[in-house]
Amino acid sequence: MYNNLELFKGTDHRLTINRGVDGVWDTAVYLDEVSTGLYESSTIFILESVNYRGDNLLSKPVSESTSLASLEFEWKIDKYESSDLFMYGAKVESGITKIDVKDTQKIDTLDYYTAVGVDPNGLKIVSALDNEAIQINVALNSSDEGRHQRTLLVYSNDGVDKTLIGRIFFYGEVEGEDERLRVLLQNMGAVLDESDFILFKEHDITEMSPDFILLNQKRRELLLELSNIKPFIGTYKAILNAIDFFGYNNLTLKEYWLNVDSDSSSFGKLHAVPVANSSKWGEAVRKTINVEVPSSNLKKTSRFSLVYKLNAPNGEVDEWDIPLVDELFDFTPEEVLIKLYGLKNKLQKEYLPLSARIIDIVGEGDFFAQKNLNIWNNQNAIAFFSEGHDIKFEHYPTKGNLYIEDISLVLRKVYDPDNITSGDYQKFHDILNAYEHDFKNDFTTSQREDLIEAIELFYESYNDDSLETFNEGIPVGCPVILDGTPSFKQSWEDAKFTWNDADPTGIAPIPNGTVQNHSGITWDNWWKTWVYEIEWLVIGDGFTQQFRGPIDDYIKIPTFLPKVGDVSVEMRTYDMFGHRSYDRESSLFNVKLKEVEFYGFYKAIGDGEWSNRSVDSWENTGGIWELPRNNRKAIVDTDASWYIGLDRANYTHDNPAPGQENFSTVYRYDDIYSETGYSETAGPYFWDNCDFEWRYTSELNWESTRIGPDLAASFLIKDISNGSVLTVNYHNQQLNVIQSGSVTITSATPTGPNDILAWQDIADELNDSTDEIISKFVYNIVVQDTNSDGTADTVLYIAGVGKNYSKTNDFDSVSLVPGVVGGEVKQVTYNPTYDEVDIFSEWREVNRSTHITFCTEISKMPGIKLNKWTITNNTYPDKSDIYYDDNVLTYLFKYPGDYTISIEVEDTNGNKNATSKNILKVK
C-alpha cells in the first residue's frame, strides 16, 4: 500500500525509503546534536507521487480505500526508546500559541475518488492536484545527555482496517555540560558561568537554556586563550582578546580622549579613537583619523565605546558610482540589548581596569553620497545678456570752480528782459519763477533748450564779463548742465546689430500704446535701447532736485544748484523691460560762494587851505575853490557805485533811540506846517550826540554833517488864478548866464481850496508846459483831509520839484503874478561828491567825529539779502561790539581806537558768507 509515498525531512532532503519484504517501508531521521535542555526538531513531510496530466508530481497521499481513510502515527514500544523524542503540534490557549505534545496523530488523506485511475507505472492519476503534504513534527528535548532513539510507526486506517505501512527511525544525541572544563577554568581563576552563554556572538538569544555545546567549546577555547588574557588583565590586549573570544570580531573598541588644548576649537570635546588592532576595520579607521594619541593635547579619559557596524560596502556601485552597502544584521536590537550590554558588563567586571568604563554602545553605518567638484568645459556659445544699461553721464562745466551766480546774468545770454514785445521778458521771468519754487525747478522743453544755450554761453564768456550784481533777494544758483548722452551710443557703428536684426517689418507695440507693423525700432529711436524715461537726482546739502521725463527731453538738462557744498548726481534710466539702471557720482560738484567784499567812504574837506596842496596847475586839480582837496583817483578806479553806495537815498535810516543815533541818516518827511512843505530828521550830527571835541572836526564842514541824500530844488505855489504868469529864473552855470522861463495860466481860477479839480487842471497845465525852464520841474497838488473823513478835500498848494538832484534842475528865483509862491529851496548836494569823498577798501586813519559808510555792492556774491555788521573796537575791548543789520552800514565814529569791521551775509537761498577787515583807526 501506498507504494509511491515520498518522505522529506523538512526542506533539507528527501528521505531514503527501504521497502521490506513485508511490504512495510523503513526510513531514518538523524537529528542534529543538541544541548541538554534545548530542543532539536524535525518536520517530516509525507507526499505521494501521482500522475497529473501526464506529469509525475507530488500530491497529498490519496486514500487507497473507498472509505474515508487516514494515516495514523504512533511510537513503537521498544526497549531502547526514549520518550524525550516526541511528536508535537500547536494549540492555542487563551490566545497564546503553545506546543502540544502528541502521543499519536491521525491525519486524513485525500478521498479515494481523487484518483481516476492508475497509470502503467503504478501512479495514481488525479484530475486535480492537491500538493498539501501531511506534516509530522518530531522534537528531541532532554535533560539527560547521551543517545536517544525512537521509532514512529505509520498506519493506514480506513475505519475498518489499520495497516502498518511504514516505520520512521529517529535518532539524536544530547550533549550536556562538560564539568571538567568548568572546574579547570575555575582552577585557573577564570569564570565562564552558564549565565554567560548569552554573551557569545554565536548564541541564539531565543534559546531558553544554556547551549552546552557552545559553552563547552568556548570553555575549551578559553582554556587555550587564557594565556593571552589572564596575564594582561587591565590592558588593551586583554580586552581586545576577550572581545575576540566572545566572537565579536567585527566589534570595534574605541577609546574617548579629551581635548585639553585651550587654543583648539575642539577644546573640551571628546574624540573617539579606535583602539589599535581591535579589528582590521578599527585599525583602518584609526589610520584615517588624523589624531595622534597619546599627545599633550588629548587626555586619557578611561572611557570606551563598543562600536558595531550596521553595514559594509559590498564593492559594487550604483549608476551614480556611489558605493553600495549591505546591511550586516550582526545584531538585532534585541541582541544589542542582551548581548552587547552583557558583554559590556562582563568586560568591565573582569577585563577592564577599575577606573575604566564602557560608556556607550554605538552602531556605525557607512552611507555614501556623491560630492563632486564638476568642471565643465561647455562649448556652447555664451552670449552676455546684460540687464539694464551702463549709465554714464557728463556735466558742464567740466572744470574750474563753480560759484553761486546771479541767474539773471545767465538768462541775459539768451533773453533781453527789457524787451517786452519779443516775449523775452516773459520767458525771463517764467524761468525765474519756476526756479524759485523750492529749487525743484522743472522747466519746459523750450526753456531747457534755452537754458542749456544760456549756460554754455555764460561760461564761455565767464572770464570776460563783469558779472556785477547787487540786488537783494534775486534768484541765485550755480548753473550746470547734466548730459546723459554718453550712456547711449548713437553712431551706427556702435549698433551691434544689422538693420534686418531689428526686424523693421515685425509687429510690436510701441511705447505710446499703439501697434504698428514693425518692431518699434526706427532710425530715430534705435539708440534709445528701449529706454523711455530718464530721471536725474541732484542731491546737495539741504536740497534735492528730481527731474524725470521722456528720454528725448531729459537726456540733457540744465539746472541751478541753489546751495554751496558737495553735490551728488544720480542718473537713472527706465526701459521697457522694467529695468532701472543708474549711476551715481558722489561729490560731482563742489559749489562755492564768491567772496563778500565791502568798502568804506566818508566826506573829508581837508584842512581848507589850498596852500597845503601840491597842485602843479589849477586845471589839474580835482577840487573846487570851496573844497581845497586834490582827489587824484580816477573815477573809473573808484570802487564805489555812484548810484548805490554813494547815493544815500538808498539807505535812509532814522532811529533817534539811544545807542542807535550814530546809525541814523537824515530822513525827510512831509510837513504841511513847514514853509517848504517838508521837514528832516537830524541824522547823527546833533548837539547832544556830538560829544567829541571841536578840534577833531577840522575836516568837517556844515554840509558834511548832514548825512542824507541830495536835496532837490523846490517851491510852493500857494495861490494862483487864470492869467497868472509863473516865471522861473535859472542860472546856467556853464554859460554863467541867467535864463528865464515863464508860463501863463489859461485854466480856470480855482474857486477855493476845495476846488481840487481846478487846482489839478492848473498843475497839469504846468506839467504840460514845453518851456525849457518851466519843464525842469514837476508839479503836483498837495491835498489834505481836513475833516478826517478819509477823503482829501483841501488843496494846500502846488509843489514844484526839480526833476533831478542836480544844478540843472535848480532855479535862481521864482515869481508868480498874480499869485503867491514861497517855500523856495534850492538844490543842495549832500551826497559825497568826487571832490570831497574819500573811498577806501584798506586801512584808513580818520578823526573821531568822522561819519563813515560801508557798502557791499562791490561784492561779486549775488543775491545778498541779509547783512549783519559788527563793529569791534580792538583798542578798547571794554567797548562792546556794535551790531547793525542792514545792507549799508552808516556810523558816526566818535571814539578812538583800532576798529575791525565784520560782515556776515546771507544770500537768497540761505547760503552764508562772511568777511572781516581791520580797516579803520580813529585817532
Binding site: Y30, E33, I77, D78, K79, Y80, E81, S82, S83, D84, D144, G146, R147, H148, Q149, Y171, E173, D178, E179, R180, L181, L184, R219, R220, L223
Partner: protein, 90 residues
C-alpha cells in the same frame, strides 16, 4: 502499554555521531572491554536464564563496569582536549 525499560537503557546506545570520527582508529593496549560481560562472565548461566534476572544483572554489570572504568576517567578529567566520555583510555 509502555515498555518497562522505557528511558532506562538509553545510556547503552552507541554513539553514532562520535563513532564516525573514530571508526578508523586503531588503538592498542586499551585493555579488555568489560562493558557487556563483566557480570555475565562471573555468574552462572543458570542465573541468567531468567529474563528478568538477566535484565537486572545487566544493570548491575553496567554499575560495576562504571566503577572499574572510573579509574581511567580520572586520567581524562584533566585532559580537556578529549570528550569527557571518551573511552579510548589505557
Amino acid at each position: 502499554m509502555d515498555s518497562p525499560f522505557k528511558d532506562l537503557l538509553r545510556y547503552k546506545l552507541k554513539n553514532l555521531y562520535g563513532g564516525a570520527k573514530t571508526r578508523k582508529d586503531n588503538r592498542l593496549n586499551l585493555g579488555f572491554d568489560y562493558r557487556d560481560s563483566l557480570m555475565q562472565r562471573n555468574l552462572s548461566n543458570h542465573i541468567l536464564r531468567n529474563q528478568t534476572m538477566s535484565d537486572f544483572i545487566g544493570f548491575l554489570n553496567d554499575y560495576m563496569y562504571n566503577i572499574l572504568s572510573s579509574v581511567k576517567k580520572l586520567k581524562q578529567f584533566k585532559n580537556y582536549t578529549v570528550k569527557k566520555n571518551d573511552t579510548n583510555i589505557r
